[in-house]
């Protein structure tokens, strides 16, 4: 219990440090936010007026305090560029990105677990080598190349799925899924290749464990022995890696979001950067960083929970 409390405290402190880091990072951005908002033809008075309007003339520590207090209440402020509240934009884009990357990771696991297990069981045979080789190649393919090819074949060629766009589930589940499927596959094929290698390695590790040798000695086949004893133990490292990969994908999906014109966090970040919408950049970066930290926390907790050895040691 003490370990848990300490880990949570550590999480809160890291999140706090991250808010300072993100805020500081935004201060070194070139160009005065008010100048950017005022436009090219603005006079010095215009800029001063806008600075006052947005509270940019106050001490940094006060601005920082306001920003953090606002976030705690779920309010990211109003953009200097679009004159609109940032919170809805952030919430919508989180939703898109989370749906995209979580679906992709689930699909990747569905691909990786059987293939990786098979590759491990067939180790030393040619089919196993082929599977390993394929996973190596899959890791090396940029996901945007996969996306371009999938669009070419399944959208432009066969006309099965739309080539771009996003449709929220409340507007019809069919449209939602058909828009989702190609981007999810673009991410999942590459992630699946990565995970396949981890699954293979984890299964091989388990197969060396003594109890499996015993089981095999008792006349069971490798496969059934594995099914009975091994998979739960193999799951620990795989789940951990999948979680870490998920954290990376939150922003790693940006290229896929751009190719498929999905309004996810990566797309919104790139757009905010292009528009020099500094407050929006700050908000999106902070949310992404928070999500990564939260995911890492969950992974650590899951790991402690799943692995009896670690649990006992702690």
């Amino acid at each position: 219990m003490r370990a848990l409390a300490s880990r949570l405290l550590q999480f809160v402190l890291t999140v706090w440090a991250a808010t300072v880091a993100v805020f500081a990072l935004m201060q070194i951005l070139p160009g005065n936010a008010a100048q950017v908002a005022a436009g090219m033809s603005a006079t010095a008075e215009d800029v001063a007026r806008i600075e006052q309007e947005f509270g940019l003339d106050r001490p940094l520590i006060v601005q920082y305090g306001d920003w953090v207090t606002g976030m705690l209440q779920g309010d990211f402020g109003t953009s200097y560029v679009t004159d609109a509240p940032i919170t809805p934009l952030v919430l919508n884009s989180i939703q898109v990105t989370l749906i995209l990357v979580v679906s992709a990771m689930v699909l990747a696991l569905l691909i990786a677990v059987p293939l990786g297990t098979l590759a491990a069981l067939l180790r030393g045979r040619s089919l196993g080598a082929v599977l390993s080789g394929l996973s190596q190649v899959g890791v090396a393919v940029p996901n945007f190349l996969a996306a371009i090819l999938l669009v070419m074949v399944f959208s432009l060629g066969l006309g099965w799925f739309p080539s771009s766009g996003w449709q929220a589930p409340i507007f019809g589940i069919g449209g939602f899924l058909s828009h989702l499927i190609l981007p999810v596959f673009s991410l999942a094929l590459v992630q699946g290749a990565i995970l396949t290698r981890y699954v293979r390695s984890a299964v091989l590790e388990i197969m060396r464990e003594d109890y499996l040798r015993t089981a095999r000695a008792k006349g069971r086949t490798s496969a059934s022995a594995l099914a009975v004893h091994g998979l739960r133990n193999a799951a620990i490292p795989v789940v951990t890696v999948a979680g870490v990969q998920l954290a990376t994908l939150l922003i790693g999906a940006v290229v896929i979001e751009q190719v498929f014109v999905l309004p996810g966090m990566g797309s919104e970040l790139v757009r905010a950067v292009e528009n020099r919408d500094l407050l929006a950049v700050q908000a999106i970066v902070m949310v992404l960083v928070f999500l990564v930290l939260a995911l890492n926390l969950i992974i650590d907790l899951l790991y402690t929970l799943l692995d009896p050895r670690v649990r006992n040691a702690a």
Binding site: S41, G74, F171
Partner: protein, 504 residues
């Protein structure tokens, strides 16, 4: 869980249940079924950051809102002619100073209020106020006074006669607002046009719905028109091919034109624009302050080859800052013929062989493609361009346009009749405008014939002075489902007009 995470998690769950970024219904229904459709989806490239063109620069906002949501007293039709809009008729006094407009008595704003002369007075006086920060507001500087003798009559008096003012009035500076509708222009648009903004999802789309109570000059055909924004030009082409959108406002993947032309279910129309793709050179400072150096460049570049490689040959050679649709156009493409030998001689004469210079290029497909070709041609005549890519708009506007920190650049100047701006005093071209100012002023005040002749002389002087290279006139490549009618093929005004769009 910390308070922060609880708050974020809580709101995220809420968002999942109540919000959606609806991209609308799928429209891949095939051409047969299209005849009955009352909606259409149009793809555009540059997205509006907000709905307020009175304070925000850029072509995207007026493209969406002018003529469709906001109206001026007059508008520019597809042939470039001035037509009635909110004003049904107008008269010009004999001294050519006072315009008397008669307003359409049936015109109403989308909030139900009638459009009155006072609203026009309010709107046009606002252009000169601090509330209006878009630099284009300068087009109204010539206005001396505005009077509203009765609800239907507006009298606008100019400080001096102007041939260009009425034409300029058709642009965004002429938009008529309701006094109650200007509080939140960035997010809500209250206009008198045939459509109103139903939904604006930043970075994604604008949905326009037809106003049932519109009784003006340009009633809409379709009930719903959606502008969907594609940062990525290839994604827009793919979306049209796979039937998710119906129209591409201006195709940014010109190499795909032939694909669409070969497709019976699609139509391609190549219209004209006011966009001159200019190879600008810093006339005031650096290597190109010397006219001989600029002449060397102009002889050195092969505009047709630039157009062929950069934009698939779609576009028009112009040779001056004037598109063929303007009354004072003349063909000046022969003034600086492509002549490598001559160019090399001039390079030697100017003593600039092998000298490095800064070629700033905005991060837009047409500009980057044109610049690569231009740079290669300049290397051939012994120059050393150093290409510096600048993000457009933010960085290019700051570095090149505002700070004049460049030797050469390439940019599409999209505004109508903008040669006096681009080669005016203090502009980034650094052109010495003393030679054209008087001619231009006299032309603006003179008769229509004097105007045309005067402006021809201005354009010719600019070209003769080798003030800049005029690479080509940017084309308007409209690609659409074959059964769409009423496409605004020529982009000759600020607006992409949606009211004539229909299905056959």
């Amino acid at each position: 869980m910390s308070r922060l995470s609880a708050a974020v998690a809580g709101t995220a769950v809420l968002a999942l249940t109540i919000t959606g970024c609806g991209a609308g219904a799928d429209s891949s229904t095939g051409s047969e079924a299209n005849a009955d459709r009352t909606d259409i989806i149009v793809a555009h490239t540059a997205e509006p950051v907000n709905l307020d063109f009175t304070t925000t620069d850029g072509a995207a906002i007026p493209q969406a809102l002018m003529e469709n949501v906001y109206e001026s007293l007059v508008r520019i039709d597809q042939d470039g002619e001035i037509q009635p809009a909110l004003a049904t008729e107008w008269e010009l006094s004999d001294d050519r100073l006072t315009y008397t407009f008669t307003l359409d008595e049936n015109a109403t704003f989308s909030n139900g209020e009638p459009v009155t002369a006072d609203d026009v007075k309010f709107s046009y006086e606002r252009v000169g106020s601090d509330d209006w920060t878009n630099a284009l507001g300068a087009k109204m500087d010539v206005v001396d006074s505005i009077a509203a003798p009765d609800d239907q009559t507006v009298e606008i008096t100019l400080a001096n006669p102007s041939n260009t003012w009425l034409f300029n009035l058709a642009s965004l500076v002429g938009a008529v607002f309701h006094p109650d509708g200007v509080d939140d222009l960035a997010n809500t648009a209250v206009g008198s046009g045939p459509y109103e903004v139903e939904e604006f999802t930043r970075g994604q789309q604008i949905v326009f719905t037809k106003r049932a109570d519109y009784a003006g000059a340009t009633p809409g055909e379709l009930d719903t028109v959606t502008f969907r924004y594609f940062d990525d030009a290839v994604a827009a082409s793919n979306a049209l091919k796979s039937g998710q959108i119906d129209v591409i406002g201006n195709l940014q993947t010109p190499e795909l034109t032939s694909d669409f032309e070969a497709d019976d279910t699609k139509q391609v129309a190549e219209g004209t624009t006011n966009g001159e793709v200019v190879l600008s050179m810093n006339n005031a400072d650096g290597i190109f302050a010397d006219q001989t150096a600029r002449e060397a460049v102009l002889h050195g570049i092969d505009e047709q080859a630039v157009l062929d490689t950069a934009w698939g040959g779609h576009g028009t050679m112009i040779g001056s800052m004037v598109p063929p649709t303007d009354p004072y156009y003349e063909d000046l493409t022969d003034v600086w013929p492509h002549d490598v030998e001559k160019a090399k001689e001039l390079v030697e004469e100017a003593g600039i062989e092998g000298e490095e210079f800064t070629f700033t290029v905005p991060s837009r497909p047409y500009a980057q493609a044109s610049a690569e070709m231009v740079a290669a041609q300049l290397e051939e005549i012994g120059l050393k361009p150093d290409i510096v890519t600048q993000e457009f708009p933010a960085v290019w506007l700051d570095e090149t346009m505002t700070n004049h920190d460049y030797d050469m650049s390439v940019i599409n100047h999209v505004e109508a009749r903008d040669l006096l701006t681009v080669f005016g005093e203090g502009y980034y071209t650094g052109y010495d405008s003393s030679g054209i100012e008087e001619i231009a002023a006299a032309a603006d005040e003179g008769t229509e014939e004097e105007y045309v002749e005067g402006m021809k002389e201005v354009a010719r002087t600019i070209t003769d002075d080798a003030a800049a290279g005029f690479l080509y006139l940017f084309p308007n490549l409209v690609v659409a489902d074959a059964t769409v009618t009423g496409l605004p093929v020529n982009a000759v005004s600020d607006s992409f007009q949606i009211y004539d769009l229909a299905w056959s």
